[in-house]
Each structure stands twice: as structure tokens, then as C-alpha cells.
């Protein structure tokens, strides 16, 4: 089997960041909790391959720790979306045409109708800013994505003959959903999950950028960007590095998503907004 090129490139890019994040648990070049203000805004050098930031912290270390935050937030948000969206979608498909189905789908539309950023701001206004609330805020908007996708995918299977055969064998809709439908839409979920993961990273960056994401001393790419924005003309690397980190991580995940789709099933279509 030939691996799709986008999968290889995407996986390598993503692995760089995943690896960096994993490594940060045991080692970072410098301790980012120690400030060295006299050493602030240094250009990249051997000692600091990506330079230092406005508080004299090593940017490479910050990027590694930030990767951890981004990945954790995005992953958990996808977890929430899948954990609630998939069962809802399966339920709606199993009861297609019923009032319950209608209610679930209208509920989804309603969530989609809310301006996501505003709701995220309100959520953080209620519960305070922080990584956990960023996860919830992003996760909520993942629910309808997965619910819709699951329902759509599941519906196309409900009309298939092997599902009919399972019904003839007396299996309940719940059991059919879990046993027959879920494994068959897993591909779809994996691909969409990758996409939502990358969107989650962007969303976390945006929330942190306006100060609603992870709080210091937890490093976050979005906050690094926010802190560095006024420095763009003084020490461009400080603003450039976190921005590029976001771009490459998201790019890697998207390429991986596309590649996975090509690999798993060229016919499935994912939505991306």
C-alpha cells in the first residue's frame, strides 16, 4: 500500500509538535517558570535557538510547553465533541424521523447559530478564564459537528441491507448502532476528528489571544502571540515563532486529515468551517 504523500508530510509535521510536547514533560532546554528579564528579547542564538521573549524566557521551551497546552485543549475539546456528539447522532439516526431526531437536529442548529466566540467569552466570564473553560467552550461547538456527521453517516448505513439483516436477527437499534454502525463510521470520525483537532488548536490560540485561554504560568501559543504583538517591529522573532508554530501544527494536522481520508476511504467528505 502506498501512503498518501499528504499523510506523510502531515504526520511528520504533527509528530514534531507532538514529540516536542511529549518531551517537555521530561525536559525543556530552559525552565520557563524562571524569568531572566535582563536577557529579554534576544535574537536566536546557539544558547537560545529561537531567541528569548519579553521576560527573558527561552522561546523554544515556551513553544514546547505551549504545544502541550494546545494539544491538550484541542484533544479534550474533540473528546467532548465526540463523546456527546456521536451518541446523539447515533440516537437521532436510530430514531430517524421521530420527534427526538428533530429535537436533536434543531438543537444542533441552535448551537451552530450561536456566535461561538461570544459564547466562549460569556463562558469564561461566568467561570473565569482558564484552560478548562476554553476546553468546554470549544468542546460545546464540536458537539453538533460530530452529531451531524454521525447522523448523516449512520443514516446512510441504516438503509443498507446488512443493517436490515441485523434487524431481522432481532437486534435492537441501540445494539445495531454500536455493533454495526459505529465501526463503519469510525473512518469518518477519525478524519473529522483530525480536522476538529486542528480547528481546536486555532480556537485555543484565538481564545488565548484575547486572554481567555490557559493562564500563566501555563505557556500558550495564543498568549505568546498576544504578548508579542507589540514587539513585532522590535523583535520580530517573538511574534513570528508562535504564529508559525500554530500554522505548521494546524497545517500538519490538516494534511494528516486529508491523507487519512485518502487512505481510509476516498469517498467520505468532511466539513470544515
Amino acid at each position: 500500500m502506498r501512503w498518501p504523500r499528504s499523510l506523510v508530510v502531515g504526520a511528520i509535521l504533527s509528530l514534531v509538535f507532538l514529540g516536542g510536547a511529549a518531551l517537555s514533560f521530561v525536559w525543556t532546554p530552559y525552565d520557563i517558570e524562571l524569568l531572566d528579564i535582563p536577557a529579554k528579547l534576544q535574537s536566536p542564538s546557539l544558547a537560545h535557538p529561537l531567541g528569548t521573549d519579553q521576560l527573558g524566557r527561552d522561546i523554544l521551551s515556551m513553544i514546547m510547553m505551549g504545544a502541550r497546552t494546545s494539544i491538550a485543549v484541542a484533544l479534550l475539546a474533540v473528546g467532548i465533541g465526540m463523546g456527546l456528539g456521536v451518541p446523539l447522532g447515533l440516537l437521532a439516526a436510530a430514531r430517524r424521523g421521530s420527534l427526538l431526531d428533530e429535537a436533536i437536529m434543531r438543537g444542533n442548529d441552535l448551537i451552530f447559530a450561536f456566535p461561538s466566540l461570544v459564547i466562549a467569552i460569556l463562558i469564561t466570564a461566568v467561570f473565569g478564564a482558564g484552560a478548562m473553560n476554553a476546553i468546554i467552550a470549544i468542546g460545546i461547538f464540536n458537539i453538533p459537528v460530530f452529531a451531524r456527521l454521525t447522523r448523516g453517516g449512520a443514516l446512510s448505513f441504516w438503509s443498507r441491507e446488512f443493517i436490515l439483516a441485523a434487524r431481522v436477527s432481532g437486534k435492537s437499534p441501540a445494539r445495531i448502532s454500536v455493533e454495526h454502525i459505529l465501526p463503519n463510521i469510525a473512518n469518518l470520525m477519525i478524519v473529522q476528528g483530525t480536522i476538529q483537532f486542528s480547528l481546536g488548536i486555532l480556537a485555543e490560540a484565538a481564545l488565548s489571544y484575547i486572554g481567555l485561554g490557559a493562564q500563566p504560568p501555563t505557556a500558550s501559543w495564543g498568549r505568546m502571540l498576544a504578548d508579542a504583538q507589540t514587539l513585532a517591529s522590535i523583535a520580530p522573532h517573538v511574534a513570528l515563532v508562535p504564529g508559525l508554530a500554530i500554522v505548521f501544527m494546524v497545517l500538519g494536522l490538516n494534511l494528516m486529515g486529508d491523507g487519512l481520508r485518502d487512505l481510509l476511504d476516498p469517498r467520505i467528505r468532511v466539513t470544515r468551517t
Binding site: 456566535p115 460569556l122 466570564a125 484575547i210
Partner: protein, 315 residues
């Protein structure tokens, strides 16, 4: 068609009621008192109480909810706590920034995405396709606020082609208004265009694999003619969905961009209102946005019917 429309209208109304409840409930539990905020750290408790009474904040929850909803139904969105001006007036001012911005960005997005998507689809697998798709991958991955920052650095500070932000108003002429919205619109549109181009391409490719394209080719249409005459319109259906979603996003999602370009739009209003706990403004603006989104989705549904005759009779 009528039944279809009416059915959608009913669920639209229902959605709005649920939305209003959700919004009110969320805003209700947000900690922070608008009166205390307005009066600052040296205020005395009796002063705060006096202001609360003046703002009508001391009614029960039900009274305030009903008051708000009945007001809205009559077009009265209440009076802003902090600005002391009618919310409807404030919205009226701001929407003339946000709406044109969203439309501008959407048009840009469509203008970029359609040719790019069609071009890429028509040369599937060839260098042109790979180039366009690579560019869209990049477009999807760039955070728009960061992109906005780069745009300002280049076009406002270095080249000084555009002002760094602010909105000159429509009184100064359509052109100058558009000009001040150009950088923000580009910052908003490019990532959206990238997404749209990808959807357009994959939707077109799906269509190109359909039987009726083969039929068209058998009639003597060239590949390109078949694409334009038969695939594009069919491919529009998923594209319309995305356009609808994008419009909603652009309308409300401009918050960060409005901040970066200090535009007096709805996004900034809501941002300010949340931090000032100007709850009535928050509620009304969110409600308005939800309403607009629901209406846009409704319009998209109707647009489907315009594109796809099967929906007109099927109901």
C-alpha cells in the same frame, strides 16, 4: 414550497425562543454588577443601590426576562446601562459596520474561492491543482488575527496604502468606507476563502464523477464545458451550506478582527458590553446575531430550492 417555508418558519420561531432563554440564563449567571462596575472602587453601597434601581436591575428574573422579550418584539431593545442610549440605536449604528464588513469579506471569499476551486478541480492532480490546494491548506492554517497583524504591518505601517484601522463612516463616501474595511475584510476572508475553495473543489470533483457528466460528454461537450454547464451548479449545494455558515461566522466572528482594526462594529460592542456588564446590550446583541444566523440559514435553505429543483416539490 409554501409548506416547506412555513415548516421552516415554525422551527425558526421555536429556535429563537429557546435561544432567548439560553442567552438570558447565561447572561444572568455572569458574575459582576453593572452598577458597581459603573461606579468604581470609591462608590458607596447606597449609591450602587440607587443606580441599580435607576437601571431597573432590581426586578425579579421573570419580570426582566418578560420585559426584555416583549420589548424586543416591539422593536424596543431597552436602554444600555452604561451608554444610557437605546440599544436599538447602538445596534443600528454598529450594524452598518459589521454587516458591510461581513458581506465584503464574504464576497471576497467567494470571488477568490470559486475560481480557485473550479480551477483546481478542472486540473485535478496536476501542478495547478496541487499549487492551489497547497495554498488553501496554508490559508486554513493561518490564525486570522495573526494574519491581520501582518497585514497591518505591511500595508498600513510600511506601505501606508491603508489606514491602520478605524472606520471612516459611510458619510465620507462609499469608497472611503470600503477602503477602511478592506484590510479587515481581507484578514477575515482569506481563511474562509481557503475553506470554501476546498469545498468547491471536492464538491465539483464529486459531481464530475456523476453519470450525468458522462452523458454531457457523450453529447459532445468538452471537459471544460461539462464542468461549467453541468457540474458547477450541482456542486453549489454543499458550497451554499458553507457560505451560510461562513456568513454567520463573519458576522459574529469579527470580534477579534474588529479589535485589531478598532472598528466600531457589533463584535467590539459586545466585547465592551460584556466587560462592562452591560447585560441588556449583551443579551440584545447576541439575540440579534442568533436571529441573523437563523435567518441566514433559512435563506440558505431557500437558496437550495432555487439551485435544486428537486427540493421545490419534494418539500
Amino acid at each position: 414550497m409554501i409548506r416547506y417555508t412555513l415548516g421552516r418558519l415554525v422551527s425558526l420561531g421555536l429556535s429563537l425562543v429557546v435561544a432567548s432563554l439560553v442567552i438570558f440564563a447565561v447572561v444572568e449567571v455572569v458574575p459582576g454588577d453593572p452598577a458597581a462596575y459603573m461606579l468604581g472602587v470609591n462608590a458607596r453601597p447606597d449609591t450602587v443601590a440607587a443606580l441599580r434601581a435607576e437601571l431597573g436591575l432590581d426586578g425579579t428574573v421573570q419580570e426582566r426576562y418578560l420585559g426584555w422579550v416583549t420589548g424586543m418584539l416591539q422593536g424596543d431593545f431597552g436602554v444600555s446601562y452604561t451608554y444610557r442610549t437605546p440599544v436599538s440605536e447602538m445596534i443600528g449604528d454598529r450594524i452598518w459596520v459589521s454587516l458591510p464588513l461581513a458581506l465584503y469579506a464574504l464576497s471576497l471569499s467567494v470571488l477568490i474561492a470559486f475560481p480557485a476551486g473550479i480551477y483546481a478541480a478542472s486540473r485535478r492532480g496536476r501542478p495547478g491543482d496541487i499549487g492551489v490546494m497547497g495554498a488553501t491548506q496554508l490559508g486554513v492554517a493561518i490564525p486570522n488575527f495573526w494574519f491581520a497583524m501582518i497585514l497591518v504591518l505591511i500595508f498600513a505601517i510600511k506601505l501606508r496604502w491603508f489606514s491602520a484601522g478605524g472606520f471612516s463612516g459611510w458619510d465620507a463616501g462609499v469608497w472611503s468606507g470600503l477602503k477602511s474595511l478592506t484590510l479587515p475584510a481581507i484578514a477575515l476572508a482569506l481563511p474562509q476563502a481557503a475553506i470554501l475553495a476546498r469545498v468547491m473543489r471536492s464538491s465539483l470533483l464529486d459531481m464530475l464523477g456523476e453519470d450525468f457528466i458522462r452523458t454531457a460528454r457523450a453529447k459532445g461537450l468538452s471537459r471544460r464545458q461539462a464542468l461549467w454547464r453541468h457540474a458547477v451548479r450541482n456542486a453549489l449545494i454543499p458550497v451554499l451550506t458553507i457560505i451560510g455558515l461562513q456568513f454567520s461566522f463573519l458576522l459574529a466572528g469579527g470580534i477579534v478582527i474588529e479589535q485589531v482594526f478598532f472598528l466600531p462594529g457589533l463584535g467590539r460592542l459586545i466585547f465592551q458590553a460584556i466587560s462592562a456588564r452591560d447585560l441588556i446590550v449583551v443579551e440584545s446583541v447576541v439575540m440579534l446575531l442568533v436571529f441573523l444566523v437563523i435567518v441566514v440559514n433559512f435563506a440558505v435553505d431557500l437558496a437550495y430550492a432555487a439551485v435544486d429543483p428537486r427540493l421545490r416539490t419534494r418539500a
